[in-house]
Symmetry: none
Subunit: 225 residues, 2 copies
DNA sequence: TAGCTTGTTCACATTGAGTTTACAATTGTG
DNA sequence: CACAATTGTAAACTCAATGTGAACAAGCTA
């Protein structure tokens, strides 16, 4: 699914943005300032950034400039007042769109989706692969025309991650971090167990997909040949 | 992209390192001594550090120790002479690899890449040579239009290393270090066996490449004439 | 409370990648 | 050529990585 980076020094604003966009099926990474944001961009694949202009350490303008230079993703700028001067500066630095606080939730959602579309990012509240359809909003999985079923969270997230980049090999660490977070301290076997359950629920013949073990590396989802 | 911290009091050495590594697509942050380096590490997300041992204010040893304690990134130590004592001290303090001035540019590049790979830093990912295509993300190898195949890790890494610098002769030690790490304690023959398996999988006519033995030195991958 | 569902852990089975072995083949050198 | 060093390779072996059934724990619901 799509990951959005929210950069704002006020935690409460970040929360607000998340609350509005979460129901649309986005995932979030937060950063409190530009420096933090850049370090996130270096490690995570981000699809879109929502950036406040006024921040400590590195302001939104500089951040935007950096992003333009080294990355390729749409930037939505947010600021407290709709000062024309700021607007111009924002666009000059390559922000793709602009929004002023306080913003209308629906407008935020609309603009984000529009940007995603414009950048041709497969906006994915849902994924289709093989004969499997996943709907992140409803948390349901449909296999080969069966009734949509609500799956356990971990299983859903795991499949969603794998199915989000079919053909790509995910290291065990990457998967664990993606599903459980970087500070997972549990048992190694847990991942295998969930993979096993996914395999049970997705017989190759029915689902048209297969989860392949890459020994010593991790797992990969591929379409059944 | 990946950021490398270069710590050396001689500006000209820093420049040199940059010149060699820049074409590989890395970004750089420089520091003239250990203290400066630490302050950089505090603000920037660094993927790898190249550190000279002899420096004012805080020498490479102390810096390395600090890094080990508070950060998690591979360290490549550089020094003027290959004194055995220094080498030991370097490894003792947790340097991941070691290089002596004057160094061979290609060796520098190879070691940096190897470290990145070993640390699972996502270093750019696909290689095409002859009719062979390697995709590091998917962990697959495609030979002459066949289906992409999943190869065992060691074979993949070995070929990836060789194919990453076609025409360059890798010493056996360099290859072993690159694939198994500098502390490999196994049998000499292991490398040959894997080379043999690669050759089986890459018939010269089909693949358009050949792995040549350089007796007394190591191996080299070249495009079939 | 009992009875589900979900997530995790454990113990044990299984497998195959990676390594070693043992010997053959090749190359370089005096 | 003789012979020593180096490399190639088939086959056996080994063990860590993975698969799996079952049990357990926690939370929710009826």
């Amino acid at each position: 699914m799509n990951k959005i980076l929210v950069v704002d020094d006020e935690r409460h604003i970040r929360e607000l943005i998340k609350i509005f966009l979460e129901p649309e099926g986005f995932r979030f990474i937060e950063a409190a300032d530009g420096v933090e944001a850049l370090s996130v961009l270096d490690t995570e694949k981000i699809d879109l950034a929502i950036i406040d202009i006024l921040m400590p350490k590195m302001d939104g303008y500089s951040l935007c400039k950096e992003i333009r230079e080294y990355y390729d993703l749409p930037v939505l700028m947010v600021t407290a007042k709709s000062e024309t001067r700021d607007k111009v500066a924002g666009f000059d630095l390559g922000a793709d769109d602009y929004l002023t606080k306080p913003f209308d939730p629906q407008e935020l959602v609309a603009r984000v989706k529009a940007l995603m579309r414009r950048y041709e990012i497969n906006y994915s509240g849902h994924i289709e692969i093989g004969s499997v359809r996943m709907d992140r909003k409803a948390y349901t999985v449909t296999v080969a025309g069966n009734e949509p079923a609500t799956w356990p969270m971990k299983e859903f997230e795991l499949l969603f991650t794998l199915a989000g980049s079919p053909g790509r090999t995910f290291s065990r660490e990457a998967l664990i971090e993606s599903i459980w977070g970087f500070d997972f301290e549990g048992n190694e076997r847990t991942l295998d167990v969930h993979i096993g359950r996914l395999r049970d629920k997705l017989p190759e013949g029915k689902s048209g997909i297969r989860i392949r073990t890459i020994r010593g590396v991790g797992y990969r989802l591929e379409t059944a040949s």
